[in-house]
Subunit: 714 residues, 2 copies
């Protein structure tokens, strides 16, 4: 890893009268002002290109069972300015080199009466600001419990927000686009059913939160490096348009338990007048620590298929039998149970997926429902719900492993915990060892339903610590982890790059549960993906679910071309082709894009972007000269106009464009696509129609003139 560090320390020990200090981004466009009020309240504000982005906002904490809150009465002991610039190389990502450049201000505060010390570290990047609280070892603060974090993000007006309801248990909501002042009125209707959900306020929303001002500023609020702390939501004071941090409480209503030395996660603000800068920002990763894993050679991006969509659609089942009202592992006799005839994860059926994967050049096959316990896996607050090592009678682990190995295919393990995390932790060593013994090196874990220990929520400190525990354990076993229904990512994949995926948002499965908004995928890169990649499981070709399962009336709100584009626009080192093999076999020409598309990138160019409306991205595959372009389109038919000037100057390429047909319609005619081939160079310009809920995908493969000249120029 190449690191260019240049640290300039400008330290000055100030007198107590220091009340305000400015810090600018390297490009001078973004600047943050820290100030201490007369009452000793720390605060900050953010400007971008002479526009106010964040107004005067207070910082601090209310503590539990403590007479002295950490909110006011502070003096400045000293402050330290530094600059930092390095380039680091992620194990996988949207580019092979990430620049981490910022100017830093560390303000060391002490409370006048209590003599408690609290430091605030600000980092100002181009287009972004991060800050965190730090509590050093000190005589007057050891253990403390946060009652409320009082960090404010004061808005300058009644912005447009792309938000989902604040919730301690789920992020699986469709995004609402509304004015801040409309959140309260829209809250009730925005809280759609989920298997576990706990909302807390009629103006509470989740991060990352995407905002747009009437002046055309794009603002994104999130957090980075959420370690040993609880998830931050934002609660809006909609009279004054001030967001305040709202931490997820524990079973007793308490917020994080802290021990000095301690840091909070970073609170992050991305700001620009160009929405593409939000997508290009790497602040979340940059505010995380470098990799804790020394040898990362075993971490590899994965393109996979799996025994999954057929269960999601209701065609087949995770469970093996309908005999049991309840399952008691160790007691329940599966060997004498009658199969229900719908079990997906049978040896034979999995082999078909292995064959399909091998034939089409995929890396791996995921199998869900392979292990005993699925008959009553959900809704019973069941403690010992799975053991993670015992297969159903019709799934032969060894036979499948050997077969897959013979075809060069890896198997992806599935660990559904049902939220019963004590049980998972008790079995995790054996479960991971079982994986290694059987050739699995990646696991999809799930946290469906209410958490056990009862009273805890998915996003509390307790659970954040659990996900981290499982992640670090997986690293010990050299296992790649893709956790679903876990806490949304905050860039921790920089430190543990074996975290190759997360769900933590409304994924493709909801297209089989009633459908998602047609512009959902034009918002996710501005929100959920700010923290890290999502296992969105794209690639659905059959939008009419009743063709998969006659009992399912759901419709996938997307065109087929849009589904292809997602492999580019929804960056992930883990990409599934989620539909059934038989549906791909009906559209093998379109399927070719999924087979071709890269999953690890040398660089990414953000060509067009407007949250809720459209995103167009070009990415160059790592290790080849191939480029792939994706466009997703949200609200109405639109012509995307992009220049291919990112291509190498003196080369010719063949571009294969997979686009919506003119008569395509995400509701009524989603499978109307066209495939066109052109000769392109860095002079080429594209104007391409995408329908509402549609999009296009392009593969651009380096060629020679003779070959390229077979095709007309774009």
């Amino acid at each position: 890893m190449k690191i260019n560090k240049s640290i300039l320390i400008i330290s000055f020990f100030s007198v107590l009268s220091l009340f305000s200090q400015k810090i600018k981004s390297p490009d001078k466009n973004t600047f943050l002002t820290f100030s201490l009020t007369e009452e000793g309240v720390p605060s900050y504000s953010v400007m971008y290109k002479n526009q106010e982005a964040i107004k005067f906002s207070k910082l601090g904490f209310e503590l539990k069972n403590d007479n002295q809150n950490l909110m006011d009465g502070f003096s400045i002991l000293n402050s330290v300015n530094t600059s930092f610039n390095e380039t680091w190389n992620p194990v996988w990502g949207e580019e092979s080199e990430i620049q981490n450049q910022y100017n830093e201000l560390l303000v060391n505060l002490e409370q006048n009466e209590s003599h408690r010390k609290m430091n605030i570290r600000f980092r100002v990047f181009n287009n972004a600001v991060g800050f965190r609280y730090e509590f050093p070892v000190q005589d007057n603060l050891g253990h403390f419990v946060i009652k409320d974090e009082k960090t404010q993000f004061a808005m300058t007006g009644d912005h447009t927000a792309f938000w989902i309801p604040g919730d301690y248990d789920t992020q699986e909501y469709d995004y609402i686009e509304s004015r801040l002042s409309e959140i309260r009125g829209l809250m009730a209707s925005s809280i759609t059913d989920n298997l576990a959900q706990t909302s807390f306020s009629s103006t509470g929303v989740q991060t990352s939160l995407m905002l747009k001002t009437d002046n055309g500023l794009y603002i994104n609020l999130h957090e980075a490096a959420l370690i040993d702390y609880s998830v931050m939501h934002l609660n809006l004071d909609d009279k004054n348009m001030i967001f305040e941090a709202w931490l997820t409480p524990d079973a007793k209503g308490d917020r994080p338990y802290m021990i000095t030395p301690a840091n909070t996660p970073w609170r992050t603000i991305i700001v620009s007048d160009d929405a593409r800068d939000v997508l290009a920002s790497r602040i979340t990763y940059n505010l995380n620590e470098p990799s804790n894993i020394e040898d990362t050679s075993w971490i590899k991006p994965v393109k996979y298929v799996g025994v999954w969509w057929e269960m999601i659609a209701g065609k087949s089942s995770w469970s093996y039998t309908d005999d049991f009202k309840a399952v008691k592992l160790g007691f329940t006799d599966y060997n004498n149970a009658s199969p229900n005839g719908k079990h997906g994860a049978t040896t034979e059926h999995v082999k078909e997926y292995v064959d399909f994967a091998a034939k089409h050049g995929f890396d791996a096959v995921l199998v869900e429902g392979w292990n005993v316990g699925w008959e009553d896996w959900f809704g019973h607050s069941k403690d010992y719900v799975f053991d993670f090592v015992t297969p159903y009678p019709d799934f032969n682990v060894e036979e499948v492993h050997n077969y897959a190995k013979s075809k060069g295919i890896k198997m992806i393990m599935h660990h559904e915990t049902s939220g019963s995390v004590r049980n998972y932790e008790r079995h995790i060593d054996k479960a991971y060892q079982f994986m290694k013994d059987n050739g699995y090196d990646a696991v999809k874990s799930g946290y469906v339903g209410n958490i056990l220990p009862r009273g805890e929520n998915h996003y509390s400190q307790w659970m954040v610590n659990h996900y981290q525990y499982a992640l670090e354990k997986a690293a010990d076993y050299q296992i790649m982890l893709n956790a679903h229904e876990a806490v949304r990512p905050t860039g921790i994949a920089r430190t543990y790059p074996n975290l190759i995926g997360n769900e933590s948002a409304r994924g493709t499965e909801y297209q089989a549960f009633g459908g998602s908004n047609a512009n959902h995928v034009t918002i996710l890169p501005f929100t959920r993906l700010i923290g890290g990649p999502m296992d969105y499981t794209p690639g659905i070709f059959e939008m009419d679910l009743s063709k998969v399962n006659p009992q399912n009336n759901s419709h996938v709100n997307s065109t087929l071309a849009n589904q292809l584009a997602l492999y580019v626009t929804m960056y992930s080192p883990l990409q599934m082709a989620a539909d059934l093999p038989e549906n791909y076999n009906r559209f093998l020409d379109a399927f070719q894009f999924i087979k071709d598309v890269g999953i690890d990138w040398e660089k990414s160019i953000y060509l067009e972007a407007e949250p809720g409306s459209y995103i167009t991205i070009a990415r160059k595959e790592k290790g080849t000269n191939n480029w792939f372009v994706g466009n997703v389109n949200g609200k109405s038919n639109r012509n995307s106009k992009v220049s291919l000037d990112f291509l190498d100057k003196d080369k010719v390429y063949i571009a294969t464009i997979y686009a919506d047909a003119k008569n395509a319609n995400y509701k009524t005619n989603p499978q109307a696509y066209i495939i066109k081939k052109y000769k392109v160079t860095n002079k080429s310009k594209l104007s391409q129609l995408s329908v509402k809920g549609g999009g296009y995908a392009i593969s651009i493969i380096e060629s020679n003139k003779r070959e390229a000249n077979k095709y007309s120029e774009l």
Copy 2:
């Protein structure tokens, strides 16, 4: 293990009109009547020698989120009568053979509308009754949550009770002797401070509960085989003198989560007109399953000393340093910390204990405070509080191990969890493996303070499952377990005989925290010990704690002779000589009894017993012809009169009597003891004074006439 089984099945399929059935004990003295009321409410009553012991008492459950409670509307499907008689051999115990003989009635019930099945299994032993609920696999009951167990124990009058306040977190209370009608008025004052405590009702008391009727009936209420359920307390309706089960709730207020097939623990009633029968009853073990451990050769009774009392008394400390306001394991640098000069568990000091143990024939040395983390171990709801493998800089695990091994002494590990059980479970494999690697085969675990996961209590189903998990894990590693502050035992040591001890009551430590009632030890065998042995840690010779630590004004409310007697009266396969070596060195003649006394028994004879007043027990050591007698005396000076007719007919013995001197006084003159030697035979009779809070101990060693004739006859 020798088992004589004789099972006689008398099964009759009854019509729905069966409303009442009687079942008698093998000796016909005890009988239980089961009946179904007209409303279909199951109920029972118990008679003993034509006296009513338990009046008409209802049975059933209120369920959570379920329209159909399991309380009424039942019909009898059928009932099955069986008889059972076996003799089994415990790995350790008060005798080498235990008879398990009972008549059983299994009533199979079905609820009329819901068609739910609930069976009740009654077992009637001589002097005891046990029953439990059983929920078979069925179509209409799979998962269910108990809101309240409605099991009643209806008293026949305003009995005298020996009770401690109902509490979800502790049993460390002094017993109150009062009428049932007085409980409410005495509750507030009986709830003395504890580091974790949660009382729930002004008439709630704990089991095992000892009662005495005005007619001289002794009744004991407890439970057996508490597995995957929460602890039963008893709540008194003090108008009608009816106790009802009160289960410990979980963090959300729910009672046990059940999955069919499921059994509740057994509810037990011991009844007799002779208090000695209560002590002799083995119903608790008999209602547990036989050993799950096949090879029990590694489970051995242990007599031990330890680095413990000096910390309890405040003379030395568990912690190594006073430098830290808070400890963060992995961050905190102990190597550069300044020692506080009071740390008990130093290599050198432990070696002194090893020397003392070796010199006086002990088996083992316990060391507390050996591992990092004690500086802030309590009161902070700290998650990662200990790692159980990292010693303090001044404690060399390997050096101590080698030294102890060279002297033939085993080391006893100490694992304080601080109630942070997720942390303990995460480390338990490594911790147990660390023990085995370093030659430890027994562990004392502790659960001081409030439980993590927060909101759970010591006695909830969640925690009961944790203790069981730790016990079974210990068995996997061939480790003997002695859990403090854990759930009180319910005979599970039959199934897992590596559970060689528990605290779960007010132990000797309270004598250094202000003192316990002088008659405390005359009650514990009737209450706490009904479920299994207690690591009471007797043997305190210096009653004035200020002589150990000038800052400690506590007084041990006991005579020295009483302390010796405890090694006989407080049965345990794990016996500590808890005082400091220097205190034993001052009274080596009395200490001789502790050195001599057996810790595993061929048989036990209960010579005298009255709860709260006195207990006198004779026990024959396993593998020798030695007998040991102990008497503890509670309320006032008393002459104990016992016959030694339990001795072998044709043998002569030398009895060494360690007794209170006439002027002994547990408050003012506790160290006044006399030691006398006599020749004794099975014709000998003893009349021996014990003062209040006093007692006597006798070793009776087989001799020959020549040797015995040196002493006068008793």
